[in-house]
């Protein structure tokens, strides 16, 4: 969706276990949910 909007140079960081040891961990594991950092640029 980032690229569909027009962003370029899109990069994604490694997965972060956002919900580990939280009460939402079970549901997060069920759907493989992790946090990520994203970086993109609007072309000049």
């Amino acid at each position: 969706m980032l690229e569909q909007t027009g962003f370029v140079d899109v990069s994604v960081g490694p997965p972060c276990d956002t919900f580990g040891e939280a009460s939402g961990e079970k549901k997060a594991r069920q759907f493989g949910v992790y946090g990520y950092a994203f970086l993109a640029r609007k072309p000049s």
């Binding site: 909007t5 919900f19 939402g24 759907f31 946090g35 994203f38 640029r41």
Partner: protein
């Protein structure tokens, strides 16, 4: 509601408001996600920076990853934080851009905005401002921002296409979008996607 959207954006917005109003007013309550210093440490924020912030500036943080991990902000940059909550990422951004930069936090919850403004005042920050608004219609002029940041907000927006278009509008050409959010690695059943209660559960 648009036929293309999985849930009613207004109904989802009210659900999100209810959840995060609780995070603002009762930050040490029980949530399905981590909050505060524990969350920030878990997500890789610099411990020294965390230590420098007062508890009130950190306790309602509910981010999902670190939007500064792939790119550090540069001195003098103008930054918009979409869904700034109680201001935690704005305060991190303010330190990175320095006194010649500007940070503008946008949030839809008055309780979060009040807390963020109080923290900024307490810390004596003069390069941070908070405005009430929605990600789909931000009170920011076209092309104002060098950088847009966000943390755990876009996933709570029903119309993500509209959200990215609005971010595009406020970014200057050549500007950066650096945000943190969650993504699922396994398919979520369509029935679950349409269940608004599950979006914030």
């Amino acid at each position: 509601m648009s036929a293309e959207l999985p849930v009613d954006p207004k109904a989802l917005r009210e659900e999100v408001k209810s959840k995060y109003r609780e995070v603002a007013c009762n930050p040490h309550g029980e949530f399905h996600f981590h909050t505060g210093r524990r969350a920030a440490a878990r997500l890789g924020y610099d411990p020294a920076v965390l230590e420098s912030l007062p508890d009130v500036a950190v306790e309602s943080f509910a981010g999902v990853a670190n939007p500064f991990s792939l790119r550090t902000l540069r001195p003098g940059e103008k930054v918009v934080d979409v869904g700034s909550g109680a201001g935690f990422d704005c305060f991190i951004a303010a330190a990175q851009v320095g006194p010649s930069g500007s940070v503008l936090g946008i949030d839809m919850l008055p309780e979060m905005l009040e807390k963020a403004r109080a923290s900024a005042k307490r810390m004596g920050l003069t390069n941070v401002e908070f405005r009430e608004g929605l990600i789909e219609d931000m009170p920011v002029e076209n092309g104002w921002a060098d950088v847009v940041i966000s943390n755990g907000v876009i996933n709570l927006c029903a119309d993500k296409k509209r959200a990215f278009e609005e971010i595009w509008r406020v970014l200057r050409p050549g500007g950066h979008l650096q945000f943190a959010d969650i993504a699922n690695g396994k398919p979520v059943p369509a029935s679950a996607v349409r269940n608004i209660d599950l979006w914030t559960a």
